[in-house]
Symmetry: C2
Subunit: 359 residues, 2 copies
Amino acid sequence: MYTRQTTRRIVLGGVAIGGGAPVVVQSMTNTDTRDVPATLAQIRELVAAGCEIVRCAVVDDAAAAALKQICASSPVPVVADIHFDSSLALKAIEAGVGGIRINPGTLRGGKRALERLVAAAKERGVVIRVGANSGSLPRDILERFGGPSASALVEAALMQVRMLEELGFYEIKVSLKASSVSGTIAAYRAFATRSDYPLHLGLTEAGPLVPGLVKSAVAMGVLLMEGLGDTIRISLTADPLLEVDAAWALLRACGVRQRGVEIISCPTCGRAEVDIISMVQELWPQLRAVEKPMKVAVMGCVVNGPGEAREADIGIAGGRGQGVLFKKGKVVAKLAEQRLVAELLRAVEEHINTEQTTG
Amino acid sequence: MYTRQTTRRIVLGGVAIGGGAPVVVQSMTNTDTRDVPATLAQIRELVAAGCEIVRCAVVDDAAAAALKQICASSPVPVVADIHFDSSLALKAIEAGVGGIRINPGTLRGGKRALERLVAAAKERGVVIRVGANSGSLPRDILERFGGPSASALVEAALMQVRMLEELGFYEIKVSLKASSVSGTIAAYRAFATRSDYPLHLGLTEAGPLVPGLVKSAVAMGVLLMEGLGDTIRISLTADPLLEVDAAWALLRACGVRQRGVEIISCPTCGRAEVDIISMVQELWPQLRAVEKPMKVAVMGCVVNGPGEAREADIGIAGGRGQGVLFKKGKVVAKLAEQRLVAELLRAVEEHINTEQTTG
């Protein structure tokens, strides 16, 4: 069902993007980048959840200076997010980032600044992400296309690409940010017919958790299922850990990549005999770091639960005071309700180890 | 971009479904249905958030009896969710529900029970939702199709439809629940080529909030953008209010229907100068009940915020101690940080009233 469109491959801090490489999961720290311990702590949390490239905002010299320690200790490549200021970009490159995200068209210092930046990026093997954003398209493009249409976004992105290509630079990935779902889908589709640079999928200002997830999942899901997209960030006004959870859920849902625990749980209804919501909330932080793909069920009633969740590797189903632990739909133990979570975690641990030994 | 596929129209408790009617938003209570005040309180909350049909689980006679009061006081039609027990279904019909959700193939009492049920539904103008679920397909169908494939789901659903049609009953809507996103998409697409009954879109056991939203949004988003789907429920292991928020976000994202406030907010990043996450969390419960479609922005920095969110009708952008209120990208007031939320709510109120008067 799923065929990836062919893009050229770039390598960002050792991580391949495009050219058939697995779709890479990104997120962005929301700590103050100048606070090195806090930023590194958040990066480690994000990486444990499956983040493979992390972006940090670089707002001033102190942040650029902090990047040096951050890059040295981060377990995954770091991308510096920079607006307008080419000297910050140069400092970020010297600090050891794997990539920078800039708009070459709005860089202060014009062509000369860009030349110096590109030379430094080439020397250090740094990737540059360019991208058009419907909220900040150049006036001439807006006039030519009569507004921030998909074609306008594509043209703006291609202009940025050409500015780099003219300097002999090709380690590029591209994002196209429209404010609507249909605009985003149209822009990425159109760009892919014009260029083979790898695509960074994302939605701009997606918003709070619930609508943000919905918009990102629809837009990026449609594109991923068409084989478009080489790296993704789901950006949310929420804890960045949830961005990583969501990115993996999306890749899994689209049949693109598998990682970690997929929780199967019944919707809440008047029939549930335990508080599934709290049970899942208690379990998830302890299951998030599991890398091995597996399905874990948390079901509300003992009678239908194990059968309904028979595709789960392991599951629990609650009851009044009592519950069951089941594997592949078969009940393997009856348990007091308060032991359900602990026993489930033990069974997950066992499942990881058993299969590692045998397979 | 969006063309609805034509289905026949049914009417559920006064709400039209299919045949070009707006896609209807449903949710399900998770209170004990026997607790009438709690159930009605939740129904009112869901309706204020935009829920147009509400489903309640009916597990026993006491729940069926409670339905009478619930149906009498609910501001929207009620659907009774019943498994196996035709006498509960009869009681629900007598209680005044607009629809029942049953599987005619697994009804205790066989054909005779179904005949009585259908006669009662006809008499009271009650809609019946039938549906196939990949976790509970009849054995003969599983054998014939070699597993719970899309074709197997379609065949199982059509069998249920035929059982009702043979009794002269046509007020039917249909759901097809596969456990995977691609399976769900394939099943609904295939059904729509074989039948014109209105489609109830949903995913079974979608799971906790984040992965549940992602899976539902991708599967249902793809279908909605193809013009499929006459009523939707996003089922989550979470507060049902979030199901309603998510359903509207999905309809909006797919360009299917507009309602209420769309929040535009920047992703969290090291650049934000206020705590946008808490600000949005404080705002949303107060904005959820707004029906008039409008865009409200909550941005993290004063410099780029108003410009980046220029398509918002109203917005606030935070700063250190100070922020701004803006309309359509133009700053209209500078405000102390602690007044931002209150002033935004006042501006929303004004926006509702002004336009109601003039337009």
